[in-house]
Symmetry: C2
Subunit: 338 residues, 2 copies
DNA sequence: ACAGGTCTTGTTATCGATAACATAAACGGG
DNA sequence: CCCGTTTATGTTATCGATAACAAGACCTGT
């Protein structure tokens, strides 16, 4: 195999091509002015040497990393993955690369992560949610780069926002059920305040129920977020055991809603005949399960795409003021609710 | 707001704390020898100035980035997400951060991605699969860092391997069905060769069927990978239309298997009564659907964890020779098959 | 009390690309 | 044909942390 000789630098390439290192540097940028013949000779020399461009040096000298830092609660969540995909696609054309970190639904972990990410000197930072530790908030405020909070509409944003109101979305779902004559409605969600979006959804449920003058105490705590199918099934079991006259249940996500649905199937409880079920997030499962699941689509990919577009505008100096882009989630009535 | 004054450097912190920049540098590393009093004064000065450590400079001078580059086909896949999680957790303790990129199941995109990643000078690189373009392979071979191929057992590995045989896993599934007296077995998978793991699974299916002297032509092409629930459902529809006497079907993943299951439910085809269904990947859906799905668990998180452990060993010089860690997937017979 | 060791801190040069400035060559319109 | 402009390339200094080397202060046991 290849001997572990030192990796070639631009200077080596320059020497072989008979030009100055600066010209090599220019040849590696797409817009720079280098004659075709020179560029070709340089690329050939680089190829012969097996030269690989060293961003670490470029990053330091140019004070540009082409990183956009992104924090999400979990990589194992199709909604956040979609947002990252939208972001990634929108940024790729400009050579911006995503530096991804997960917080595990924990704002203290988020604080540590933000510090790690800022050390890498990203061009911008995208965080999920609007709730942060005071220190994390301070770091973001002083970072000197565009900050975008997503998946939420924080009362006092740090910088830009691309999000939606989780509470309002669930309110729409409650209204949907009430309009169909369902009044004994329950909510299945995580029991801790770790998942702030889940907490907002529960709060939206309670507020909406009270607005309608309905009992807002049918709250089933399904465990520590992220709650998934299994937890949703268990929670539905408890709901059916303790409050068997419940007519409808809103779950914090489609995953828990599907779990709840399967529990009904195992017990022979008809959906939507005896109980209506709704989820959140428009995961693929809800579109294909039997019955299909009533849900809310918050357009996660769109959040990512709009965030990417916003970042480009800000970096181009076309957007000086902090922007708040509000996404309107869409309620999707399906077979699991009447 | 804060004026956009230049960000403070170590030199600024050093001046304020009354020490040399080198001492500040040491104070920021955990193992370095700095007296408690000095470190405290330095951290206080850093805090007062709002200093944020600049890795770009550190990366260049120390020739260490603390990055581990990772390529996966898609971020939107719970199996790969699990591998990334295992990796991330195993590397975090050592301060190694993951630099993640997605190939979209395309080896040419992988080539571009690998080049981008190597420019960032990672300490090691983890790629999914063992099939690469010649140039990608060359870049990996010459990168001068540990290379780990995962989720596969390539015939001629570039460096280290942490994987399993997709073909052998599916063979076990075929054997499982045959042992139960099922012989008219179909396979639902992607129609392109983009997803090499899917292709290996189909090849394993064909080989196993032939070993048993059975008809290996019941192959349903479900579309361009990644194929998901919808494609699985459509493919099952076509299978039931064209080969209604099929007794069992093996799907390339649990997602398509679940889609197939729902299609049966919509058509009133009993599972496993009239047809048995198996998936791949042990996604949560298969453990909770009604009926639960027979599947194969390839331990994706374990792949990540073992890869992380291997990287640490190699970086510590405790593992000089290329290692091949073979994971043994487990067949999980469940309700969807007899 | 002193040689040899450890602990703490400082000095200098450097990692590799590129921003900023400079300049020679080619071009182009009147 | 000349001068202003564009194009192609070179020179020098620099981004900010830290490796490598050096050295004084502080022990510690005999």
């Amino acid at each position: 195999m290849t001997l572990p000789r030192k990796a070639p630098t631009m200077a080596d390439v320059a020497r072989l091509a008979g030009v100055s290192p600066m010209t090599v540097s220019r040849a590696f940028k797409h817009d720079a002015s280098v004659s075709d013949a020179t560029r070709e000779a340089i690329l050939k020399a680089a190829d012969d040497l097996g030269y690989v461009f060293d961003s670490t040096a470029s990053n330091l000298r140019s004070q540009r990393t082409n990183f956009v830092a992104v924090t999400i609660p979990s990589i194992n969540n199709a909604n956040f993955a979609d947002t990252v995909r939208g972001l990634s696609e929108g940024l790729k054309a400009r050579g911006l690369q995503i530096l991804l970190g997960t917080t595990d639904y924990d704002i203290f972990e988020e604080e540590r992560l933000i510090e790690q990410l800022l050390r890498r000197r990203p061009e911008a930072i995208v965080v999920t949610g609007g709730q942060h530790t005071p220190r994390a908030r301070r770091m973001l405020e002083n970072a000197g780069i565009p900050v975008i909070e997503t998946w939420d509409l924080p009362p006092s944003p740090i910088g830009h926002v691309v999000g939606f109101s989780n509470a309002a979305a669930v309110r729409a779902m409650v209204d949907h059920f009430v309009a169909r004559g369902l009044t004994r409605i329950a909510f299945i969600g995580g029991d801790a305040d770790r998942d702030t979006r889940g907490t907002d959804r529960r709060a939206g449920f309670i507020a909406a129920m009270q607005t309608h003058g309905l009992d807002a105490t049918r709250l089933i705590a399904a465990g520590v977020p992220p709650i998934s199918m299994r937890e949703g099934a268990d929670a539905m079991g408890r709901l059916l055991d303790t409050l068997p006259d419940t007519e409808a249940v809103i779950c914090v996500s489609d995953l828990s809603a599907f779990g709840a649905l399967t529990e009904c199937q195992r017990r022979g409880v008809e959906v939507p005949g005896r109980i209506s079920i709704a989820g959140f997030g428009d995961y693929e499962i809800g579109a294909i399960s039997v019955p299909t699941l009533t849900t809310i689509n918050p357009f996660p990919r769109e959040i990512g795409a709009q965030t990417a577009a916003l970042i480009l505008k800000v970096l181009d100096g076309e957007q000086a003021e902090p922007a708040t882009l509000s996404i309107l989630p869409r309620l999707l009535p399906r077979q699991s609710s009447r």
